[in-house]
């Protein structure tokens, strides 16, 4: 318990201090997207890592959040912060409603159904041209602002996005170590036993589905205000897959694993740039070998590796 709080504080300090230590410029920009991806990965991890329910359509909620805020901002006069809240609640309500039939499914049927939701959302973004601008995208979205303070630079957006990410992380940590979180994890380990203990598995799964949609929608709103332009391709099937990869590589059922996964996968293309056209191959190889050799994800794999090396040294001394 206490150590969790400490971990979070330490992490928050690191996050807030990073911009002071890195060269000004491009890296800050990338870290904004790491923040957004962290929220998305966290949302998925609550569903997948804690409750054990797969979703291949996470990009749909991300996109609904982004388009919700974007459309409200460009075509209606409404405070963007209010819009963000309304959209997030709306998306969560939508997830809650479809959650009942969808989460009754298991395994690959669930994977297929969530994938279907993702595809339908993607097509809707493309086809509702009058509202979303269709495949050509929606431009002219404003930056967020508080009074006359406009979030219009990388550094400002960094703090904007990461404050949301940190709050999400804190709330998620609170939740997983409480009655609700225990219920979820119980469902993951043995749904039947959890239900016998009085855990309403169906309702809880739907609730966490809605929560993960809520977080994804907030991330989407932030994304649209940071980018000021959105187009459907940012919310397509490969994005859902990338999110899934972040969660698995970072560590299922670990809040910080989500952040680690988001960090790695957002920076990965940077690191692979040296490989030029080979990067897609390296990406595929990484996915396979990480799943085989680090099934617990980096967040567990690195400490395990560390423990393996350190005692070995100690025994020599």
């Amino acid at each position: 318990m206490k150590s969790d709080k400490l971990k979070f504080l330490l992490f928050a300090v690191v996050v807030l201090a990073i911009p002071l230590f890195i060269p000004k410029g491009y890296l800050t920009n990338v870290l904004i997207f790491v923040g957004i991806n962290s929220m998305l990965a966290l949302g998925l991890n609550l569903l997948l890592g804690y409750a054990g329910q797969i979703s291949l359509g996470q990009a749909a909620f991300f996109g609904l959040g982004a388009y919700g805020s974007g459309v409200l901002n460009t075509q209606y006069v409404i405070n963007p912060w209010l819009a963000m809240a309304l959209v997030a609640v709306g998306v969560a309500a939508f997830a809650f409603a479809i959650g009942f039939p969808v989460l009754r499914l298991k395994g690959h049927y669930l994977a297929m159904a969530t994938l279907g939701v993702g595809v339908i959302a993607y097509i809707s973004f493309n086809e509702t041209v009058d509202l979303t601008g269709g495949p050509s995208g929606l431009s002219g979205i404003e930056n967020l602002s508080i009074g006359s303070f406009v979030f219009d630079s990388d550094i400002k957006n960094y703090y904007l996005v990461w404050s949301f990410a940190l709050v999400s992380i804190l709330l998620a940590m609170n939740m997983v170590n409480s009655r609700f979180g225990r219920g979820l994890r119980a469902i993951h380990d043995s749904e039947v036993a959890a239900r016998v203990m009085g855990v309403n598995a169906r309702l809880m799964k739907v609730q966490v589905f809605a929560l993960s949609a809520f977080i994804s929608a907030i991330a989407g709103s932030l994304y649209c205000h940071v980018m000021t332009f959105i187009s459907p391709t940012s919310f397509s099937f490969p994005v859902s897959i990338e999110l899934l990869t972040m969660v698995v590589i970072g560590g299922l059922g670990s809040v910080f694993g989500s952040v680690l996964g988001a960090l790695l996968l957002t920076l990965l293309p940077e690191m692979l740039r040296a490989f030029q056209d080979m990067d897609i191959i390296v990406y595929g190889l990484l996915l396979i070998s990480m799943t085989i050799y680090l099934p617990g994800g980096l967040v567990r794999g690195i400490p395990a590796l560390f423990r393996k090396i350190v005692p070995a040294r100690g025994s020599h001394a």
Partner: protein, 379 residues
């Protein structure tokens, strides 16, 4: 004594010039191309061409003795990545101008970044809204869709065909074309009797074509990039549709004829002049540029240079002349780009102005028809 002074003087000058040459750091130009991903058919020839032109310029001594360094990144067709990489080019690599991105979506995403950083961008994408309304720092070399549409509609009007059907791909390219097709129809007295779309990865369009056949249009206009239009050409042949089928400049390469096979016969499309360089009259302003581009590309990459590579050719050349005239300060480049007049490139004859950052007229397009597996000019 005199001799000694001369030697000293000469060696002093040589020294000065050498150090000046050494001091002249290369001019950094950034490029964002979608070399992988769904738009790689654009990004790959664009990157190849840009690199080729830059190497060529450097080989003949660069711009006023300074070499050009091309820093090209692959966006994979992803607009988030395009924005990140635009930031990287501007903030880390400190480029003086950016060429690309390849697609309209990525370009629209990158515009706020370059506008804020005040770095000129020459997009290689076609959508009209990139330069309309005009943004101070954004130019483009790819011909506007509106010009291609106008070319087709002119021809239809000449042939008195007034009822047409649209079949456009549901991506950025198709959507932009569809918008223009609908917007300009009334000006040419054309009535759109069917407006259908297909997905970029669809493998059979007989359903749409059957529906279109049912409303009896006098021509079909299909707006897409390979392989969709080739499938449509074959499906149309299968269904025995024998009204004129028009394609967009999105398929203006030999690849389309190869993919569509026999079904390509008789299909018409508007295209930049690069496809028909040899058929152009000698007095055509672009002929020289076109032939040099085609020759160089063939020499470097052993394959035919196309329309899309041409966008990058124009972009690099436009930058080159702008820098030659005004130096490598981004603001100066912007000013000089805007002052470009009568630059005969691959895509057309460019005349930028404060209120026109696309710079081309519909003369940039010619209408071609496929005959015996080759392009012929439609008169």
């Amino acid at each position: 004594m005199k001799k000694l002074i001369t030697v000293a003087l000469v060696s002093f000058f040589v020294f000065c010039m050498a150090s000046a040459a050494m001091a002249a750091a290369p001019i950094k130009i950034g490029a964002l191309f979608s070399v992988t991903g769904p738009a790689s058919f654009l990004g790959e020839p664009e990157r190849n061409t840009a690199q080729m032109v830059v190497d060529e310029i450097n080989r003949v001594g660069g711009i006023k003795g300074r070499k050009i360094e091309l820093i090209a990144y692959d966006t994979g067709g992803d607009s988030t990545k395009a924005v990140q990489l635009a930031n990287k080019l501007i903030k880390n690599d400190q480029v003086v101008a950016i060429i690309g991105p390849s697609t309209s979506g990525e370009t629209m995403a990158v515009i706020p970044v370059v506008e804020k950083a005040q770095v000129p961008l020459i997009s290689c994408a076609a959508a009209i809204k990139i330069t309309e309304p005009v943004k101070p720092w954004v130019f483009k070399t790819a011909q506007n869709d509106s010009l291609a549409v106008a070319r087709i509609y002119e021809q239809l009007k000449k042939e008195r065909r007034t009822k047409i059907a649209l079949l456009t791909v549901s991506d950025g390219f198709g959507a932009s074309g569809r918008e223009q097709l609908k917007a300009q129809a009334s000006r040419y007295g054309i009535q759109i009797v069917a407006d259908d779309t297909y997905g970029p990865k669809d493998t059979d369009m007989t359903a749409q074509l059957t529906k279109i056949r049912g409303v009896h249009p006098q021509a079909i206009i299909c707006w897409g990039t390979n392989p969709g239009p080739a499938v449509i050409a074959r499906n149309a042949k299968q269904l025995g549709i024998n009204i004129p089928l028009y394609m967009s400049h999105g398929v203006s390469s030999k690849k389309f004829i190869e993919l569509a096979g026999d079904a390509a016969e008789g299909i018409r499309l508007p295209t930049g002049k690069v496809l028909v360089a040899d058929l152009l009259p000698k007095n055509d302003k672009q002929k020289k540029s076109l032939q040099s581009f085609i020759k160089d590309y063939q020499h470097h990459y052993r394959t035919e240079g196309d329309h899309f590579g041409g966008h990058a050719w124009d972009a690099v050349m436009l930058l080159r002349y702008a820098i030659e005239r005004g130096g490598d300060n981004p603001a100066a480049i912007r000013k000089q780009l805007e002052a470009t007049r009568n630059f005969a490139g691959i895509g057309g004859v460019f005349n930028y102005a404060a209120r026109d950052h696309a710079g081309l007229t519909k003369d940039a397009f010619v209408l071609v028809e496929v005959k015996k597996k080759n392009w012929t000019l439609v008169k």
